[in-house]
Point group: C2
Chain length 467, copies 2
């Protein structure tokens, strides 16, 4: 694509030079996300500081037929915020104000560029939190969380990001500023466009501000690390826990390979002793909030008496809590460290999880025995992550070919279980080839029609999800 000077000239009379970057280092950084697979190629990065500036930029873009890629913390893993076709990246990172907390309504107005963890830190002194929580919270931004309906480690207790957004300010390509739902808890006045934008990965409008719904920080938490023989035992423990533990706030699972590689990479002494050289088999991190110790002890006794687990330990200090969580949240980075990795993020209805796991696990063991394969995930959401490491001796193109063949089989199995090819990472560019396993052709047609209502010229985040 040739450089569209008209657009940048018009922008230069709107934004100061400090809000426009065009150098190749910045483009390599801002046109890429954590998937790191696609080759970034962008014309410029713009850094609006207000919703008004976003509106002005989009008006100019429409005038010049300039494509735009909205961009947050770029922690995505599906290429949803990657620019590959000389688009202009619209970074929201300077639109990052965090407003005052309303303690009566438990709400907080922020810019789309506010960092997730900064929001947590802001709320903490009030005994409050925005319960959207996951490993990349130190980099991810609120706008990106909303655009991808981010999941994470406490969906089991709080639900996805969708549940924690009261109002959205967004801008369509024609420059119109939309304010959906204000700060209302209840507003049944027709279709709720807020929920259309949540999870739409920036293809309909640019999210610029949000009113977040907050909740009380837990007053206390008990965190356990359990060892179990196999995945069937994990599912059994989950069924027991969900039924018997009132304030279950996390139920995370990882296999032996994840546990080994993570404790080794992070230099953590395994909190549970391995009975054999092969370790335990599988592990569960279980968290309970606001529970009294007596009640917790009662079910802990039951868990051991009924042989639900083969070993287990309860965090005895805040440091232990941190260590257990560090293991869980360090899995992805530990697997990725110094390795090329192919990753999947799938989900099935929870009652089918055990059968699904059994199906795919035995296939991987049989057909891909030469690879290091890692399983972990959010069992309570029916969500499994599968990571495959490229053997050092294999070349990249061969690995990618193998991964695609393997994926096809995974997705075919998934479709039989009515599962999702992207439980929480979104579709972006990297999962487009798989979307038809989870959505019907008719749904994809409806996406296109929806897209044409919001962005008739197809200038916003082009090529993502559909097209």
């Amino acid at each position: 694509m040739k450089l569209n000077d008209g657009f940048l000239t018009a922008i230069s009379s709107l934004l100061p030079a400090s809000q426009v970057l065009t150098d190749s280092v910045s483009i390599a950084l801002y046109a890429q996300d954590w998937s790191n697979v696609l080759v970034p190629h962008a014309k410029a990065i713009l850094f609006p500081k207000t919703t008004l500036e976003v509106s002005q930029i989009l008006k100019i873009a429409t005038l010049h037929h300039q494509t735009i890629v909205p961009s947050g913390g770029r922690t995505g893993l599906s290429g949803g915020a990657v620019a590959t076709q000389n688009e202009v990246v619209l970074s929201l990172e300077k639109l990052n104000f965090i407003g005052p907390i309303h303690e009566g309504s438990l709400s907080l107005h922020v810019g789309a560029g506010a960092i997730t963890e900064a929001v947590h830190d802001h709320c903490k002194p009030y005994g409050l939190t925005w319960p959207v929580d996951f490993a990349s919270k130190g980099s991810s931004q609120v706008g990106g969380n909303i655009a991808t309906n981010a999941g994470g480690v406490r969906v089991l207790r709080y639900g996805s990001t969708r549940n924690w957004v009261l109002g959205l300010t967004s801008v369509t390509m024609d420059g119109t500023v939309h304010q959906f739902n204000g700060e209302l808890e209840k507003n049944n006045t027709g279709v709720d466009f807020r929920h259309l934008l949540i999870g739409s990965e920036g293809i309909l409008a640019v999210i610029t501000e949000a009113t977040l719904k907050l909740c009380a920080l837990p007053q206390s938490r008990l965190v356990f690390l359990f060892a179990l023989e196999n995945f069937s035992e994990v599912v059994k423990l989950f069924s027991y826990a969900r039924k018997n533990i009132l304030n279950l706030s996390a139920f995370e699972c990882m296999d032996e390979a994840c546990f080994q590689v993570t404790t080794r990479h992070l230099g953590i002494t395994p909190p549970l002793k391995a009975p054999t050289q092969n370790g335990h088999g599988t592990y569960v991190l279980l968290e309970i909030q606001n529970e009294n110790f007596e009640r917790a002890e009662k079910w802990l006794t039951e868990v051991f008496e009924n042989d639900y687990v083969s070993d287990g330990v309860m965090a005895q200090s805040e440091k232990d809590v941190e260590t257990f969580w560090k293991i869980r949240e360090g899995i992805a980075e530990s697997i990725l460290h110094n390795h090329e990795v192919h990753q999947e993020d799938v989900s099935v209805p929870i009652q089918k999880l055990e059968a699904f796991y059994s199906d795919i696990h035995s296939r991987y063991q049989k057909e891909y025995s030469e690879y290091e394969i890692f399983f972990f995930g959010h069992i309570g959401d029916g969500n499994l992550h599968v990571f495959i490491r490229k053997p050092k001796t294999m070349d990249s193109s061969q690995f990618i070919k193998m991964a695609h063949e393997s994926d096809l089989k995974l997705f075919e199995t998934l479709a039989q279980y009515h599962g999702s090819v992207s439980a929480e990472h979104g579709i972006g560019l990297l999962k487009k080839h798989a979307i038809h396993f989870s959505r019907t052709p008719l749904e994809l047609q409806m996406f296109m029609k929806l897209k044409s209502i919001f962005d008739p010229q197809g200038l916003l985040n082009p090529g993502k999800i559909i097209q």
Copy 2:
């Protein structure tokens, strides 16, 4: 409109006579809802028993250009399911299966016609519930709850109906059956059409089946009835309660007029003694789930020591709990009993509730002193109901004229507070004139475009919300 024989003839070869009613008594019943303001006028009532039958009916309807009004328990208060223009009413009441409960995934598949309370009763033996709960649960149906994103008395704890629907089966006018989201907890594969249909009041597609998300029944509950001097005190108590009570599950408010008329109508001895002839002023029903008694006693002491309330009583038995809730849930029917009533259902951001109430309350007192006016609502959701009784001596048309004038002022005030003209009752036919106070002209245009994607001929629930 003239009778469209072609449609009914085609239907008669699809459905047995027992699934088609055309008599005037049935039409008066099935073409009407609890608002009871509009004159029902329908051609026939159809009772499909399966999603397939719904699909076949809608195909035939499209062929004959026949308008359709989907219909549930008809407990709506905005005329969203009323047929006034010789439409065909599509009652889902025979599509009312309730499937087996999946205890692992806490999910339940039901037909749209399943009665809300029947779903509760079905779940109870498993220690589970579908936490959508309100006064008309004995008649309302799941499909209607979803189509209106029903609120109710426990939104504060569980959120609206939207949060408790895993999957939706629906049928568009062309007869296509859509299955949105299956039974997945997490599925980030583009726009979530499920959330488009939830709250769309049957103008896009007919909801025929749903997979509901369940949760554990509370193991215990403590219910209090407090008396307070005025609404400012109510807001103060709410702020305190929300911050200090971990498992607050309901915070309902009613004024003295509601309390008097309800206890009298239901023949309930007031659980709190009135200090003067004028009573206390205002009342709060507060419910806490799964709380230990010691912690509850501690804050109860605080509540009294800080003079948050002027009087209060805790339910001492399950019978007390029932009585307190009976008062709250009996308000609407008690006000309506033998009276013509004009009702409003509005909401504002919670932090603005006190100022908003003060504004409208003083205006009603000043300008409408000759009317009996009742205020009650779900304070925790920023949601107030205002009911005005027609004086016995006034004629209906004069009352309606007054109510409309009064509404106009209410809505103007509401718009200043960025509130909703329909917090939980929906727009239907009766709130259409007010929708522009809560939604922009551009949003209404977008509604129309959305409608044309799903129902290009405009045959489904015509005239509702928009048009």
